[in-house]
Symmetry: C2
Subunit: 495 residues, 2 copies
C-alpha cells in the first residue's frame, strides 16, 4: 500500500471529550451490565440493540429533556449517488431510538412491550472534567400500557437490580413520587392555568434538595439571601399560596398511609391531584403484594428530579451510605438511577398516544459506588507470568503456560525480548502479576523451577533491604511437576 | 415542550443499511462475546474499549485492506466556537484504534501488550442484502513482539475459543500459513522484483479456493475457460515458472514435517522463503509443546486469505462440517476467523516500527453456525405469563409473579388491557411463553389456580379440534400454594 511520504505524523489522541477504557474498567462494567441484564430478563424484559445511527428525522430535532441543548447530536449528511441524502446522527439516548423501533415494528412486537437496552450514547456538548461525549446508558422501559403495575414492577426490578450488583438492602432506597400530585397542588394553589407561575414554582421545587424547606418557602415568597450573600428574587406568592407546595414537599410520614393522607390534604379538591394520589396508593399496594416494604421502596414526595419531564409516577434510586467528598466531608452517595412515566412515546411517528414508563441506571456511578465501598477491586490481580531465561527453550515455557491455563489459572509467557531479566520482572509488576515462574538452565538440569510470590515479595521489599529480601521465603524452589500445585497454593494464600 | 403543529410525521425507519437486533439475537451474541472474552482474559489479554469516534487524522485516510474503498467512513467536521474544527469519524475496524491507543498510551501500557476488543464498527458502504453498515468485530492482538510464540499463542487461543463457544474438536480446524514462504516462492520464480507480475500471481493464488490446482495452473499460464464459457486471460508464465506456485499451494503433506519439507523444496534458495519456513516450523513446535495437535491446528499452505495484507504468519479458522446452502447443496460452512502478523502498527504516529499479530472472529457467522447445528436455540422460551382475570386483583397476580421470580423462574404479569382473555393468550404466544397461569374469581374462591402448558397445548392444537383440545391434560388445576412447584414441573418436563 503506497503512502505519501511527507505527510506530518498524525497526533495519537482521542477526539476532545472522548476517552478509552482499559482492562478492569471494561471487564467490570461488562459484568455489571450482564448482572443487570439478568435481572431485567428474569422480569420478562427483552433485549433490544438498535443501531447507533439514526436519521435526524427519526431522532427528532429536539432532545426530550429541557436540560439538554437543542443541538446536541453528532450529525452528518449522507451522500447518495451524486446527490445529498438524509441527515444521520448518533443516538443521544436510548429512548428516542425506542420510540422509532416501537413505531417501526409495532405489529411484530408484543403489546405491552418490555424491553431493555444498554450501550453507548453520544452528546455533542462541550466536554469538561469528568464530562464525556460518549457514555453508557442502561435502560428498561415498558411500552403500551397505562397500568400502574408496570411502574410498580420497574421499581421492584430496580430494587432487585441494586441488590444483585452488590448494594445490600439498607444501603439504597427506591423513592417514588407522582407528577400528577404536584399538578394537583398547583391547582390547589390556583395556578392551574398560569404557565409562567407554574414554571417558576417548578424551578423552585427543583431546588428543594439544596435549600430545604425554609429555603423553598423564601424562594416561593419574598426571596432569599443565598450562602454567598447574593439575594435571589422570590416568586412573589403569599405565605398562604406557598403553603400547599411546602405541605407537598414535606408530606412524607412515618408510613405510606400517613404520607398518602398528607398528600390528599395538600391537593385539596383537585381531580388530577386525586388521580395522582390514587396512583401512588396503587403502586404501594402492588409493591406490598410483591413483598417490597419501605426498607426497599417508599413513597417520598420530596423526589423532584425529572418531575418536569414525566407525566405520572416518577422514581429514583439513591445510595444512602456516606462517602467522603473531595474535601473530606461526609456526604450521601446519592442518586444512581431515575425514571418515570411519559406519554406519547411514538405519537410523533404514528399519531397514536402510546404510554410508557421506564428507568435508566447510571452504570458508571454505580461502579464508582462499588469501588468506593471496596466491593469490586480497583486494581484486580493480573495473570501468572512465566519468565523466559533461555530463548531457545520457548517451547518449555509454552508447555508450562498451557499446563497452568488448562488448570484454570490465568497465565501468560513473557513475549518481549528476554535478554534483560529485570525487564521481565518490571513487566510482571506492570501487569499486577501475583506469581512469576522461573526456569533457567540449572533448574532445567535439576528438574526444578523457581516460583516467586510477587505480592508477598512487594510487601517485603517495602520494609527490607535487597539482601534481606533474597533470604525471605517469597520465592520457592519446587520440582517441575509441582508447578500447578504450588502456583495454586500461593494464589489461594493471597486470597 | 411546545412543538410545531404542522410538521409532517417522520418516517419510523433505520437509516439505509442499518438494522436493529431483538431479544435472543442480542442475548446470544452477548453471551458469546462473554465466553470469548473469558478465554482471551485467561490467556492474559486485557480488555480495551476505545471510543467509537476517532479523529480522521488518527484513523488515517486509507483503510488498511486493499479490498475496501478509500472513503468508507462516516465522518463529520467538528464546530469549535465560530470556527471549523477537526474532522471526526466512526471507527471502521478495531485495529486502527488499537494503533492510536498504543501510540498514545505506550508509556503506560505493558510491552508486549496483549489486548482484546469487541464492539460495533461502521462502514460507509453501499448497503446490500445481508450487508450492513454497522456490525460487530471481536479482535485479539499482541503488540510489540516479533516472537513466533505470540502467533502460536493466538492460534491456540483461537482453538480454545471455538471449543468454548460450542464448536467441538473435529468440527473446526485452525490453519496456519506464512506470507514469507510465498515471497520465497516468488523469488524462486524470478519474480522477486517485478511488482506487476507479483500482483498478478497473488491475485491468481487468491482464486485457489474456487478453481483448484488445475485452474490456478491455467490462470498462471495460458488462460482458462470459466464455468460460464468465458475465457479468462492467463498471467502468461511458462509451465516451469508456474511450478513453484503450484508446489507451494499443494505442499500440504500427511504430517507437519512432510509439509515443511515440501515447502522447503518450493522456495529453492530464497532467504526470505527459508525464514518463513523456519517461522512455520517454530510455530509448529510451540503448539506441539502446548499439546495442540493437527486435529486442532495444522500448517496448510493453501491458506491464501489475507496473504496480501499480512507480513508473516497468517491463520484462519474454518468450520469443517457441512451445511446445506440456499440451493440445498452440501457445502462446508467455511471460515469464521482470520488473522496474522502485520508490521508498523504505530509507525504512522511515532516513526517506530512496532510488530503485532492478531486475530478477528466473525461473531455473527459463528452464531449462525451454532444455530445451524442446533447448538443454540433459534427461538428461546419466553417467560411464564400470569394472566389477569380480574383487574381489581392486580395485587394477587403481582404476588404470584413475585413468587415465581423469587423461585428463579422467569415470569411476568400481563400488563395490557385484560378485558379480552383471548388477547392475553395471543400475547403469551407472541412471547413464546411456556406456561400461562390463570386465576379467575371462582378459582380464587376455591383456593386454586389453572396452569396451562402452552407448548404441549400448541402441539395438541396442531393435531386436534378445539373440542378435543379442551379435554387434554395440557391444563392443570392445582391449589394456589402449589404454583411454583407445578410451574417448575411443567418447565422441566418441556426440557
Amino acid at each position: 500500500m503506497a503512502k505519501p511520504k511527507k505527510t506530518p505524523r498524525p497526533r495519537a489522541e482521542t477526539p476532545k471529550g472522548f476517552r478509552d477504557y482499559f482492562g478492569a474498567e471494561v471487564t467490570q462494567r461488562t459484568e455489571m451490565l450482564r448482572a443487570i441484564a439478568g435481572v431485567y430478563h428474569h422480569y420478562g424484559f427483552e433485549a433490544l440493540e438498535s443501531s447507533a445511527v439514526e436519521t435526524v428525522e427519526a431522532l427528532g430535532k429536539f432532545l426530550p429533556d429541557v436540560d439538554r441543548p437543542n443541538e446536541g447530536v453528532f450529525a452528518w449528511q449522507e451522500f447518495e449517488e451524486n446527490d445529498r441524502g438524509d441527515w444521520m446522527a448518533l443516538r443521544y439516548d436510548l429512548t428516542a431510538p425506542l420510540a422509532r423501533v416501537y413505531a417501526q415494528h409495532r405489529n411484530d412486537l408484543p403489546t405491552p412491550y418490555r424491553r431493555f437496552a444498554m450501550g453507548p450514547v453520544w452528546r455533542n456538548e462541550k466536554p469538561g472534567p469528568g464530562r464525556y461525549r460518549q457514555f453508557y446508558q442502561c435502560d428498561a422501559d415498558t411500552v403500551g400500557t397505562a397500568s400502574m403495575a408496570a411502574d410498580a414492577e420497574i421499581c421492584a426490578m430496580l430494587s432487585d437490580t441494586l441488590e444483585t450488583v452488590g448494594i445490600p438492602r439498607g444501603d439504597y432506597l427506591v423513592r417514588v413520587n407522582n407528577r400528577k400530585v404536584l399538578n394537583g397542588v398547583l391547582e390547589a394553589m390556583g395556578l392551574g392555568d398560569d404557565q409562567g407561575a407554574r414554571d417558576n414554582v417548578l424551578r423552585t421545587i427543583d431546588k428543594f434538595d439544596k435549600v430545604g424547606e425554609q429555603g423553598v418557602r423564601e424562594l416561593l415568597t419574598k426571596g432569599r439571601l443565598d450562602a454567598s450573600g447574593a439575594f435571589i428574587d422570590g416568586v412573589g406568592l403569599s405565605d398562604d399560596q406557598a403553603a400547599p407546595v411546602l405541605a407537598f414537599l414535606t408530606s412524607k410520614a412515618a408510613d405510606a398511609a400517613g404520607t398518602i393522607a398528607n398528600l390528599r390534604a395538600a391537593i385539596g379538591s383537585s381531580d388530577i391531584g386525586a388521580k395522582g394520589v390514587a396512583e401512588l396508593e396503587q403502586i404501594g399496594e402492588l409493591l406490598a403484594a410483591g413483598g417490597y416494604g419501605s426498607d426497599r421502596i417508599e413513597i417520598d414526595p420530596s423526589v423532584v428530579r425529572g418531575l418536569g419531564y414525566y407525566t405520572g409516577p416518577v422514581y429514583e434510586a439513591e445510595l444512602t451510605f456516606d462517602i467522603l467528598d473531595e474535601k473530606g466531608r461526609k456526604r450521601q452517595f446519592g442518586s444512581v438511577s431515575g425514571g418515570g412515566r411519559y406519554d406519547d412515546l411514538v405519537k410523533r411517528f404514528t399519531g397514536q398516544e402510546v404510554p410508557a414508563t421506564g428507568v435508566s441506571i447510571g452504570v458508571d456511578r454505580l461502579l464508582a459506588a462499588l469501588r468506593e465501598k471496596g466491593r469490586i477491586a480497583a486494581q484486580p490481580k493480573g495473570p501468572v507470568v512465566v519468565t523466559v531465561m533461555d530463548r531457545d527453550r520457548m517451547a518449555d515455557y509454552q508447555a508450562m503456560v498451557s499446563e497452568l491455563r488448562n488448570a484454570g489459572i490465568r497465565a501468560e509467557v513473557y513475549l518481549g525480548n528476554p535478554k534483560n531479566f529485570g525487564n521481565q520482572l518490571k513487566y510482571a509488576d506492570k501487569r499486577n502479576s501475583p506469581v512469576a515462574v522461573i526456569e533457567g538452565g540449572d533448574e532445567k538440569a535439576n528438574g526444578i523451577i523457581q516460583i516467586k510470590d510477587l505480592i508477598l515479595g512487594a510487601q517485603i521489599a517495602q520494609s527490607a533491604t535487597l539482601e534481606e529480601w533474597k533470604e525471605r521465603p517469597s520465592q520457592f524452589e519446587v520440582p517441575r511437576d509441582q508447578l500447578v500445585a504450588k502456583v495454586r497454593e500461593i494464589l489461594e494464600g493471597q486470597g
